[in-house]
């Protein structure tokens, strides 16, 4: 089979520490070779007649991103997103692997439904779609799901998505049981009593607007609880979507004392504050809520010192009609697949001076390791599956939701100027995004065939 050669890009691989200009050669779906310009590039391959040479001079060539937290809505809420549209959105954002969360209807709590997600992902034919299975049946927090079956069907993690396990004992059993399959439990940390029907961060804006507030402690109290349980079970706990300074401190402390705990954060939580809710715009209504500047600062510090391992989109598409209602009634959630990289790059590298590789590690190899995918994915060294993204970080882009591949338009970054456009995406060596355009591929679903 002919080779594809990405020529003259800045090759960055956080797994190996590579950061040099050079050529990347893909063959048979895998990375065949990396050749730095200093070594003379991939001259031997460039000479081959049938090699497809793509000039990526001045662009970043990175491992395809791995988003370990996205809601693709299928089955059950196909008007919001399908695995097909979500996969297109993913690759449009340079994401080659997505962990699809199980808060679907029905929930992904058994082998068959997990397999359905895998098959729909293959039919769509864009990104690698891995299911996240539920911890408990129907996400009701009462009985454990059949995790062996879920694992067999391809589940890479377990989570009850946006439902916090109310029972500490169920969390203990979940962590213990998931440990047998070497899979993390992604915890949504929220004490619903302390949340009291809140719709935004408990802070000055909520106070002025008379909107019920969600106090930061409603998150950190469960973070503390779950770290305590991870300690006694030695299970693999991954804290979903950190938002509060207190939670960051608890994770840091947990790591220092040797608990197997990891954590993730979204670009909106480390970029925006609750002041965005000033005009009651439901596009800023997320759970956990956008918090204060002090929380944002703590999240940035957590990213810097390694307390926070992973950056996720928490992609949560909603239809326009669902969001075009009173702030109080609007559902929580924002889309994020197509802004995961540009928002991370713009905020962290552009504004706060992070290194590109430092940020990319949290979008590639770190989640790959957590999900048990690192043997084949999360890097671009020779022999790995050729999941590759090419980004342009020199050109400004104004975020326009109307251009999204996702069915959801509910972004909280609309109108902002960012850097980090996806130019090319390769999944298993297949060219699925070229010059920023998603190329045609599979079919949307069995039903719509």
């Amino acid at each position: 089979m002919s080779k594809i050669i990405l020529q003259g890009g800045r090759l960055i691989d956080p797994e190996t520490g590579l950061d040099e200009t050079g050529d990347l050669v893909i063959e048979d779906g895998r990375v065949l070779a990396l050749a730095t310009a200093a070594e003379g590039g991939a001259a031997e391959f460039l000479a081959e007649e049938d090699a497809e040479i793509i000039d990526v001079t001045g662009l970043l060539v990175t491992p395809g991103l791995i988003d370990m937290h996205a809601h693709l809505r299928e089955p059950g809420d196909e008007e919001e997103e399908t695995i097909w549209s979500g996969s297109r959105a993913a690759v449009a954002g340079g994401i080659t692997t997505v962990a699809a969360f199980p808060n679907t209807e029905p929930a992904v709590d058994n082998e068959a439904s997990a397999e359905f997600v895998v098959l729909q992902g293959r039919r769509a034919g864009y990104a690698n779609i891995f299911p996240v299975g539920t911890v408990t049946l129907r996400r009701e927090g009462e009985e454990l799901s059949e995790m062996a079956g879920l694992t067999k069907a391809g589940a890479v993690a377990f989570s009850d998505a946006d439902r916090c396990l109310r029972s500490a004992e169920m969390m203990r059993r979940g962590l213990l049981y998931a440990k047998m399959f070497d899979r993390p439990v992604v915890a949504f940390c929220e004490d619903s009593d302390l949340r009291r029907g809140g719709v935004m961060n408990y802070g000055k804006v909520a106070l002025r607007h008379g909107l019920p507030g969600i106090p930061a402690v409603s998150e950190s109290i469960i973070v503390a609880r779950d770290i305590g349980i991870a300690d006694i079970t030695q299970g693999c706990l991954h804290i979903g979507q950190l938002s509060a300074a207190g939670s960051v401190a608890l994770v840091r402390q947990g790591k220092e004392s040797g608990v197997k705990v990891t954590a993730e954060v979204t670009p909106h939580h480390f970029t925006l504050t609750d002041e965005c809710c000033e005009y009651f715009d439901p596009n800023y209504k997320v759970l956990p809520p956008l918090r204060s500047q002090a929380d944002v600062d703590a999240l940035l510090e957590g990213l810097r010192d390694g307390t926070i391992d992973v950056i996720v989109s928490a992609h949560a598409p909603h239809t326009a009609e669902e969001k075009a209602v009173e702030f109080v009634y609007a559902p929580f959630g924002v889309v994020g697949l197509e802004t995961l990289f540009c928002a991370s790059y713009t905020t962290l590298v552009g504004k706060h001076g992070f290194g590109v590789a430092e940020v990319l590690a949290k979008l590639t190899i770190n989640p790959a390791r957590l999900l048990g995918l690192a043997d084949d994915r999360g890097g671009i060294s020779a022999g790995k599956i050729a999941d590759v993204a090419v980004f342009d970080v020199e050109t400004d882009r104004i975020i326009d939701p109307e251009t999204f591949e996702s069915k959801g338009r509910n972004t909280c970054f609309g109108g902002l100027t960012m850097r980090g456009n996806t130019v090319h995406t390769f999944v298993g060596g297949r060219h699925v995004v070229s010059e920023g355009r998603v190329l045609g591929a599979g079919q949307e679903s069995v039903a719509e065939r």
Partner: protein
């Protein structure tokens, strides 16, 4: 004239001058109610819709009468403010009503931000008649108007808002309006309903009514919702009345010229004992009649003096024909 607004959504974003303009305009309209023909033609040919998604006889009636006295056509529309997953959305309801050729929508809704949301989608003027726990500007204006009748200079005046400040739109609008006019605002009530965080709004928080009794010039006694007690935010109505109710004993200790306000309806024996509600310091019924004048002023200013009020000759009520 210090008025160039299309909407009246709250007092937080109004300037001191705009608030004074509203109060002064209301002053002019108050006299209309004393005439034998209680009508001026200021909004003749205009249509006002009371769009109430939450039951409220008092505020609605007051707006209705205020509109009638300005010669506007007034329609009442009650909507159900349930979640919009089924049925018509707030925006659709409002747009449908506006399509009938409406000039001013007066909206009451249980969600904070509903009035702002409508002001973004409607072409006509919007007056907020209470949105969630956010703002209730005309109620606060009538409270301030009533205070001003007795105490013309609000600078340095100490006004205590007593009760469930946390969940109260009346309290919030009062806080902004009073502060802009130079008054010092106290929030008094149990710590579960008056959290210390309220001090971030520039108010003095107290959980002890007796402690502030002697220094306060005006007591604005909020109605306590039985529902809050049922949700466990305070133990009993009895204990609440003991701690935060104004009674004869407490009235002996207040300033001689202190005023007692209540937005109504009163829970007699809870916020106020009858002797206080009907006593010499009470200005509660003045509030009701002033409410009419204030709402006439609000309708008149947004309807006839805002950026789109050009078609109607601007005429102050006091100077207009009878």
């Amino acid at each position: 004239m210090n008025w160039n607004r299309k909407h009246l959504l709250g007092l937080e974003d109004l300037s001191r001058e705009e608030i004074i303009e509203l109060l002064d305009t209301a002053e002019g309209f108050r006299e209309v109610s004393t005439r034998s023909v209680k009508k001026v033609p200021a909004l003749r040919g205009r249509v006002v819709v009371n769009l109430f998604f939450e039951p409220s006889t008092r505020t609605r009636t007051s707006f209705e009468l205020a509109g009638a006295r300005l010669s506007a056509d007034v329609l009442n529309f009650s909507g159900s403010s349930s979640s919009t997953s089924k049925g018509e959305t707030l925006n659709d309801t409002a747009l449908n009503i506006e399509a009938m050729g409406v000039d001013i929508v007066v909206v009451r809704h249980s969600c904070s931000g509903a009035a702002y949301q409508l002001s973004q989608v409607l072409g006509c003027s919007v007056i907020n008649a209470g949105d969630g726990a956010h703002e209730h500007p005309t109620q606060a204006l009538l409270d301030i108007f009533t205070i001003r009748q007795h105490k013309p200079d609000l600078e340095g005046l100490k006004v205590a808002i007593v009760g469930d400040v946390s969940h109260s739109r009346v309290a919030r609008s009062n806080i902004w309006g009073l502060q802009k006019l130079g008054a010092e605002v106290y929030a008094v009530g149990p710590s579960t309903l008056v959290p210390n965080g309220l001090s971030r709004l520039g108010v003095k928080v107290s959980h002890n009514l007796d402690e502030v009794l002697e220094e306060v010039d005006v007591f604005n006694m909020l109605r306590i919702q039985k529902e809050r007690q049922e949700r466990g935010l305070f133990p009993t109505i009895r204990e609440y009345a003991k701690l935060y109710g104004l009674n004869g004993e407490r009235m002996k200790r207040v300033k001689e010229d202190a005023l007692v306000l209540h937005p109504g309806p009163i829970n007699r024996g809870v916020e106020l004992t009858p002797e206080v509600a009907d006593g010499p310091r009470s200005v509660i019924l003045d509030q009701v009649s002033n409410g009419l004048a204030v709402r006439m002023a609000a309708l008149y200013l947004v309807g006839a003096c805002g950026p789109q009020g050009g078609q109607v000759e601007s005429q102050r009520a006091s100077g207009g024909e009878s």
